[in-house]
C-alpha cells in the first residue's frame, strides 16, 4: 500500500519530536512511581513500543479510505461506549475500561480518533464560506453523542478532550455572528444542564475552590496547593532527579499521571519545565505547520483537529497543576502515565503523517 515515494515523504522530524516527548514522560514516570506497587515505568515503556508499532502500521492505510468509512467506525465505537456503560466493570468509580487479560484499554480515548475522522468526513466537501446552523448542529451531534456517553461513565476529563474537535471544525468552517450567537446560547444551556445533571458534588467543589483554594486546604484545594508548593519549591534548578520531597511523598495522588508536571517542576526546576515546554512547543509547531501541507480539505481538518486536541490537553493540564484550571483528570499528552492516551496520541500523529506523506498522490 505504501510506495517508495510515500516513504520518502514521512515526516521524520515529527516522529522524532514525538519520541522525544514520550521519553521525557518515561523518565519522570519512573521518578514519580518507583516506590509504588506496579512497575509503571516498564508498563509505559511497553505501551510506547506498542504505540510506535501501531503508528507505522496505521500509515499503510490511506487516510482517505479511513475518512470514507468513518461512519461505520463511528457506529461500532458508539456501541462499544454504550456497551461498557451497560456491562462494564466499575474501576475506581468509573466504567471506563475494557479489561483484557494483560492490560486495560480505555475506549473513550481511542474513540477520539474516530470522532475526528467522522467530523472530517462531514466537512470534506463543505465549501461554503461560513458554517450553517444545520452543519453546525450535525457536527455537534457527532461529537456530543460520545461525549455524553463518556461523561456518564463518569469521566468528565476525557469527555472534555472532545471539545477542541468541535472547536477546530467551527474555526475552520468560519463562524458568522448569527451562528456564533446561536451556538454560544446553546453552549450556555448545555453548560447549565450539565452542571446540574452531570457534575458530581466533588467536581463542583473543584470548580468553586479554583477561585480560592486556600479556603479549604485539606479538601478540594489540597492538591492544587500541594502541586504549587512542589513546583514553587523546585526553584530555578530543582531539587534533583528523584529528590523531590513533595512529589516523593504522598501529597500528589496522581503524581505519575495528571500531576507529572509538578514532579518535573520540583525535581528539575524552572530549567526543567522550560526544557519540557520547549520540546512541546516544537512538537506543536510542527503539527501546526503540517496543516499547510495537506492538499485536501479533509486533511486540513484532520491535522488541525489533532493539533488543537493535543494543544488543548496540554494547556488544561499545565493550568491545572498551577491552579488556573479545576482538577479535571486531563493528562499531559505523551508525558503522563497511561497507555490508552499514549496510543491515541500516537495514532493521531500517525494520521498527520499519513496525510503528509500522501500529499503528492492523485486521488
Amino acid at each position: 500500500m505504501i510506495d517508495r515515494n510515500q516513504l520518502r515523504n514521512i515526516d521524520w522530524i515529527l516522529i522524532g519530536l514525538l519520541i522525544l516527548n514520550s521519553s521525557i514522560g518515561l523518565a519522570f514516570i519512573h521518578s514519580s512511581s518507583h516506590h509504588l506497587y506496579g512497575n509503571y515505568a516498564l508498563k509505559q515503556f511497553l505501551w510506547f513500543v506498542i504505540s510506535l508499532a501501531a503508528l507505522f502500521l496505521f500509515l499503510s492505510v490511506s487516510y482517505r479510505s479511513l475518512v470514507t468509512y468513518s461512519f461505520y467506525f463511528y457506529v461500532v465505537m458508539i456501541s462499544i461506549l454504550a456497551g461498557i456503560l451497560l456491562f462494564g466493570t466499575l474501576i475506581s468509580g468509573a466504567k471506563s475500561w475494557i479489561v483484557l487479560p494483560f492490560f486495560w484499554i480505555q475506549p473513550s480515548e481511542i474513540a477520539r480518533i474516530i470522532v475526528i475522522l467522522a467530523v472530517a468526513n462531514i466537512f470534506s466537501n463543505y465549501k461554503r464560506e461560513f458554517l450553517t446552523v444545520g452543519q453546525g448542529l450535525l457536527s455537534s451531534l457527532v461529537v456530543f453523542v460520545p461525549v455524553v456517553l463518556i461523561a456518564l461513565q463518569p469521566d468528565l476529563g476525557t469527555a472534555l478532550t472532545y471539545i477542541p474537535i468541535l472547536l477546530a471544525a467551527f474555526l475552520l468552517a468560519g463562524l458568522r455572528r448569527k451562528t456564533l450567537i446561536i451556538f454560544v446560547i446553546l453552549g450556555l444551556l448545555i453548560g447549565i444542564v450539565g452542571w446540574s445533571v452531570f457534575l458530581k458534588d466533588y467536581q463542583k467543589e473543584r470548580i468553586t475552590t479554583l477561585v480560592s483554594p486556600e479556603k479549604d486546604p485539606l479538601g478540594a484545594g489540597y492538591h492544587t496547593i500541594q502541586s504549587k508548593i512542589a513546583i514553587g519549591s523546585g526553584g530555578f534548578f530543582g531539587k534533583g532527579y528523584k529528590k523531590g520531597t513533595q512529589s516523593q511523598l504522598r501529597f500528589l495522588p496522581a503524581r505519575h499521571t495528571d500531576f507529572i508536571l509538578s514532579v518535573i517542576g520540583e525535581e528539575f526546576g524552572f530549567m526543567g519545565v522550560m526544557t519540557v515546554f520547549l520540546c512541546y512547543f516544537l512538537f506543536l509547531s510542527r503539527l501546526f505547520q503540517s496543516v499547510t501541507k495537506s492538499r485536501d480539505r479533509a486533511g486540513v481538518y484532520i491535522i488541525f483537529m489533532v493539533t488543537l486536541t493535543i494543544a488543548f490537553q496540554f494547556c488544561v493540564n499545565v493550568f491545572m497543576t498551577i491552579g488556573l484550571f479545576p482538577i479535571a483528570g486531563v493528562p499531559l499528552p505523551l508525558v503522563s502515565y497511561g497507555g490508552s492516551s499514549l496510543l491515541t496520541n500516537y495514532l493521531a500523529v500517525s494520521l498527520v503523517l499519513n496525510i503528509k506523506m500522501r500529499r503528492f498522490v492523485n486521488v
Binding site: H35, G174, K228, G234, D296
Partner: protein, 595 residues
Amino acid sequence: MNEKKIYEDLSPLQNKAQITRIVVQLVFLVILFSFWKIQILDHKKYWKQSEANRIREMTLPPQRGLIKDRNGEILATNIASFKVSIIRENCRDFEKSCQKVSALLELEPEVLKERIDRFKDLPLFQPVVVKDNLSVEEVSKIKARTIEFPELIIQSEPKRYYPYKSLAAHAIGYLQEISPEEMRSLYKKKEQGDLVGKTGIEREYEKKLVGEKGRILEVVDSVGRKREEISRIDPTPGEDISLTLDFQLQKKAEELLEGKEGAVVALKPDNGEILALASFPTFDPNKFINRFTPDEWMDLIQSPEFPLENRAIRGLYAPGSIFKLTLALGALESKIVNEWKTFYCSGSIRLYGHPRSCWFRGGHGSMNLYDGIKNSCNIYFYQIGKTMGISQIAHYARMLGFGEKTGVDLPGEKIGLVPDPDWKKRVRNEPWYPGETISVSIGQGPITVTPLQVAVYTACIANRGKRVSPYLYKKKSLFREETDPVAIQKDTFEKVIRGMWKSVNDGGTGRGSRVEEFNVCGKTGSTQVVSSTTAEKLGSESKIIKTHSWFTGFAPKDNPQIVITVLVEYGGMGGTTAAPIARKLFNLFRENHDR
C-alpha cells in the same frame, strides 16, 4: 507517470489555522510567565512551605477483639506495648543512619537492613517498624536522643496477649506479620507490617476481631517533630468473640494430655458446641507476636512432634475399633443381622485364605451384637463386614460424617478418607480386594478420620440420628441450619448404644471410663500403626510399635449432655490409656454440672 491533479486552493482554511497557532503561542507565553512567577519570584515562599509544611499520615492501630470462653474467661486480650519505627525519608544518609540505629537498638546491622529492605516498596514517609515490645529503659533511651535520631519514632500499639499461654492455643490460633501473598489475595485493605491471624479462631474471624484502623494527619517539621494535628480518625476496636469452650474442661484436657501426643474433643451433642478442643504437644502463641524471633519459630515448625499442627482437626488416623459402631448400625439397619444373631470367636479365623485373629487371642466364644460391641470382638465384625461388603460400609460411614468436613469454624480442617472400590481404582488404579473389606470392618486399612469427625459421629449416635456441625463461635448457633436426621431407625441406635453402655458399665473394653451414676456409653479403639511383622522386626524398644489409643463416648445414656473423644498417639490399648482420660473429663463435667 500520472497526470497531476489540480489541487483545490485551501489557503483560506490554512490561514485560519495559523491564526489559532498564534493564540496557542500566546498561551505558551502566559504559561512561561506563570512558572516564572511561581518558581523564581515566589520560590522562597514555596520552599519554606515545602520544608516546614510536611504532612505526615500515621495509622492508629485498633484494639483487637477479645476472645473469651463460654463463661467469660478471657483467653486472648491486648496489652500496651511500644514499638520503634524508622522513617526513611528523614535519614540524611541512609547507610550511616542504619549503623547508628542498629547500635542504639542493639540489633545486628544486617538484620535491620534486611528488615527495612522488605518494605522498600512503601512510600518513604511511612514508618517501618524495626523493633517492638520495647522495654521501659529502651523507650526512655530512644526518647532522650530524639534530636540525634530524627528518623526514629516511638508508637504505642496494643499487643495481643494470651494470659493462659498455651491453653487452647490450637483453637485460638496465633498472629503473625501479614505475608505479601495474603495482602494480595485475602486482605486487600491491610498494610505491610500488620499482624493478622494465621490459624484458629484468630484467622477464621480475623475480619470480626481486627477492628478498623484510625488515621492521624499531622504537620511535622523537616526533622520529623510533630507541629500540629490536622485531623484524626480514632480507631474502632474489633468485635469481642465468645467461644463455646469451657475453660475448666479445656484446661483439664490439656493437663491429661501433658507429655503425650494426641487430641481431645468434647462437645455438646444437642447443638455441636465444642467444649474442649485440645491438641498436644502445644505452643505458646505469645511467642509469635514478636516480629523478630525467627529462631524460635523455626524450632517450632521443624520440631518432629509438630506442635503447631492441630491434631483434633488435622490429624488423620485409622479409627480402629470405634469404627465397629458404624458396622453395627449398618448391619442392623440393613437387616443383615439382628441383635441376637451370634458368631463364634475362637481367637482366629481364616478369611479369603488369610488367617485373621481377634485382639483377644483366647477367643471370646459365642457372641451376639451387644457382646460383640462390649468386647470389641474382631471376629464378630469380620463376619458382619464380609456380609455387608465395602460399598455398604462406605455408605454408612459417609452417612455418619466420615470422609467429609465437619464444617467446624476453624481453617485447615482435613477430610480423611472413606475407601471404596471407586477410590482405589482412581487413586491406585488397582481393583479392590475382599481382604481389604475385612481390614476396614475393624477400622484398619486405608480408612482415616480426624478426632473431631469421631466426636461428631459419636454425637450423631448419642442423638439417635441427628447430625450436628460443631462450632466454636458462640453466636454461630444463631444461624445454624438444622439438618435432616440420618436414615437409620432410632431403635437401631438404641441397640448399638446398649452395646456401648455394656462396654463401659458391664466390664467391657471401655470400663476404664466408667463414672458412678453417669451412665457413660463408649467405645474404645486401638489402631495398629505398623503391621505385626514389621513390629517384630523393630523390637519392643521402639515407640511406634505401640498402637494409637482411641476412646469415644457420651453420657448420660438417655439424655446425652457431653461427647468426649480422646486420641493418644502410640498410647497402647484404647481401654488403658484413652478411656481413663475420658473418665476424668466426664467426672469433671459432672461435678461442674451438679454444682
